[in-house]
Symmetry: C2
Subunit: 478 residues, 2 copies
């Protein structure tokens, strides 16, 4: 009983080693545990609860726009994967192959889905006949497998959880609208729920999804100045429909090929939250997705009435937010450090003196501000403070991104920024892939996107000096 838990484990500082800081946080905040299979993690209750909150919010946004959930198989026969040439070329080198069922060798190899365009196409071919069957706005929440060489929890794992939307439409216009509409959903979610500002834009041909005519992306900037592609939305035109021979009878009684989209977001978003808001004390979670929004810590709990009062407060808050109380025999100091590490947005401390004054102490995780709040005002003050944390995190992340976004008009400028200043680089581009390849080679940066919000930062391509009209975001990326 009297056994004292060891003090909260130390986390490497960001400054010292950002990569080590990151893995310390995911491990010590108990988000994941490693397993015997490289790149496949066990997501622990605290990590999974964050995912459940992400999932629940996104799912209701999808459904509000008329999307329906389905579930396709996890296996794709090799012949099905091979039907769309660009698509298979992009994915075949990194899939896991099932070759035996029990003791029998399979007649045809099956890959574990790396993404499910081919399965949805097979399904749409089976169920779409007429314009009356369109559109189909489907989504699924599953896990997929990509046999990556280098892996990191949440950011690049061999198996990861995600949602993949797959829609099919009678016209190209409608499919294009869907593609952009879903990008907007992701951007709203990132900004309003994850408190993470994003740049919306379109990928260059080089960075496009295998088989897509256009790939849209939301790009965020992490604490260390690296970019993170946070979600993508793809417009396929009728390429997949032609490859899979999906046709429908339109209102004019002629056979036509339909148009398709897909869009996805993954557990990578948890990595994005960690690297956007975290600090040297550990995780910092935006209230909208925090499994516990308020942690109640009784102080001097051995004194009469303290635990009871703390429990009463917890019960009251339980009606308006996600609250927990810690009544273990660890010291208050240990608890403060523990829940800071776990990124709980608000800590409520309550001891005998507070009770005398009919008050409690509320401490914000993001900036450590303390407020003494009357117990009578809890139901109004706690939501206000949670909102302040949510907004405060967004403002801080936005300020940092702006501070870490640079402009380069010439190659020398770009090389200088890329070498010395982590962050986004805005620069003009002529449209030639050779310039992307060259900047990757010389500066280690890739094109993140052609943003919807264009600026004219120079007249010529930052790389080759030819006239250029498009501004790109460049950066080192996860």
């Amino acid at each position: 009983m009297a056994e004292q838990k060891k003090m909260v484990e130390e986390i490497t500082s960001m400054e010292e080693d950002f990569a080590k800081w990151y893995t310390d946080v995911v491990k010590k905040a108990e988000l994941i545990e490693y397993t015997g299979v490289k790149g496949c993690m066990a997501i622990r209750p605290y990590g999974y609860a964050i995912w459940e909150n992400i999932q629940s919010r996104l799912d209701s946004m999808f459904k509000a726009l008329g999307h329906e959930n389905v579930c396709m198989p996890m296996f794709i026969p090799e012949s099905l994967l091979n039907k769309e040439k660009e698509h298979v070329a992009g994915f075949a080198p990194e899939v896991a192959w099932v070759t035996y069922g029990g003791n029998e060798k399979l007649e045809e190899r099956l890959c574990v889905r790396p993404t499910s365009e081919t399965l949805f196409c097979e399904h749409y071919k089976a169920i779409v006949r007429s314009y009356r069957d369109l559109p189909k706005l489907y989504n699924q929440w599953v896990s997929v497998v990509r046999w990556e060489k280098t892996t990191r929890p949440f950011l690049r794992s061999r198996e990861f959880l995600w949602q993949e939307g797959h829609t099919i439409h009678a016209t190209a216009e409608e499919a294009r609208e869907e593609t952009v509409r879903m990008l907007d959903v992701y951007a709203d979610f990132c900004e309003n729920d994850l408190a993470m500002p994003v740049i919306k834009g379109v990928k260059t041909e080089k960075e496009r999804f295998a088989g897509a005519e256009d790939t849209y992306t939301v790009e965020a900037l992490m604490h260390d100045g690296k970019a993170l592609q946070s979600a993508t939305s793809h417009y396929f035109g009728d390429g997949f429909a032609r490859a899979f021979d999906i046709q429908f009878t339109d209102k004019d009684n002629t056979l036509k090929y339909p148009f398709q989209t897909s869009w996805g977001s993954t557990t990578r978003l948890i990595g994005a939250v960690i690297m956007t808001h975290g600090d040297d004390n550990g995780l910092v979670l935006p209230p909208h997705i925090a499994p516990t929004q308020v942690i109640v810590v009784p102080v001097a709990a051995h004194k009469a009435g303290v635990t009871e009062k703390a429990q009463e407060v917890t019960a009251r808050l339980g009606k308006i937010c996600r609250v927990k109380i810690d009544t273990t025999d660890n010291s208050p100091g240990w608890k403060f450090a523990q829940y800071e590490m776990k990124g709980v947005p608000l800590r409520l401390e309550i001891g005998p003196k507070d009770i005398e004054k009919n008050q409690c102490v509320l401490v914000r995780r993001d900036n450590r501000e303390k407020a003494f709040v009357s117990l009578d005002a809890l139901e109004t003050e706690v939501p206000k403070l949670l909102d302040a944390v949510q907004q405060g995190l967004y403002a801080r992340a936005l300020e940092r991104r702006e501070r870490m976004t640079y402009t380069a008009a010439t190659l020398d400028e770009l090389l200088d920024v890329a070498e010395h200043k982590p962050g986004f680089i805005k620069a003009m581009w002529c449209g030639d892939r050779a310039c992307e390849d060259k900047l990757k080679e010389l500066a280690g940066v890739t094109s993140r996107c052609i943003p919807f919000e264009q600026e004219h930062v120079a007249d010529t391509c930052v790389c080759c000096g030819r006239p250029a009209e498009k501004m790109l975001y460049w950066g080192k990326a996860y």
Copy 2:
């Protein structure tokens, strides 16, 4: 626009061919579509929405008892699967093996999880140190793969969706309590939400889960008199802990092996609902899990004000239940048949004459009873009727199960019942596996369970005639 949809497709009658009736229903009610991989189905929106309702209800029951969701990897290295001998013997013959990652042959084969005891053991070994870490009450919602020879949608598929709970405890007593407690959760859910009466009991050694000391089950009786194992809960003792060398320091400062359980339910429950409540017109869904509880059908919708009134009614009902309106140009007759086939519990018809009288017609799916209900009373009458359907379905299923449950005191009696009367057979058993094998061979029945509610239906074993104290449920099973 004027194109008329073809009439609702016909369903084979149950009487004529029950198996064909079943596959007609799952296909034509648009629950699933077949795919190119045998035994792997595409679950369509209507089927998946039923699963989401099942999932949401069960998940909140689990969480109310303190369980937390996690997510383990889908791959198990062969050496990990091999650690518990009975377990691997039970599962290895029916797993799918991944042997290649991209173009490289793997050093060790990985199986796609058929169940995750071994992964949870590996995880518990990594995170459990002290009695303070116990119990862990974990659950996950994932899909698993078993390479079955014979497959049927929902009932026996190669990939299926499920939840698997895995818990670990300091004492055997606590683990045993958990095993039974979770069986009770399943029984409550089957009876109260699926309107499906179940027999609770324990499996004989022969029918036990591979690696378990005891397997508890809830057994339901389908329309055709076959039994369906609807969910199971396993007590493992410390067998897995010993095989995986999981130990914890107890309060007395000595190292001990913890005790484990697992429990699961699957998309098979959807098959159970179909075969418990369905009829020759198609699906019949209990309101608690029906994606649409009320379908509103405007009659003579071309008349002024009808559609508007129907939409107004739909909006009102939307606040208290899951309601949809069908405003397509299909005929009311087609719509009636369509939503009967889809098993929507209540149909609301409203036409010009109804509007004149300030009323509508409500038709129950289970018994086709019609009620004329004042529009002023909708908010009280609709929930009452939904409740009546839910209760009515349960009562009908219970009555049928009782009618189809027989008693056999001698082998001749049992053979006669097994040949002529589909249903459960209650009979005494000496405890010898040879008698189970013999009854399987002679009568085609297997032991379903030793029910918690015992009856003394004879003095001797129905098979060998030796003295017997245990009564078993026997039956042909899915």
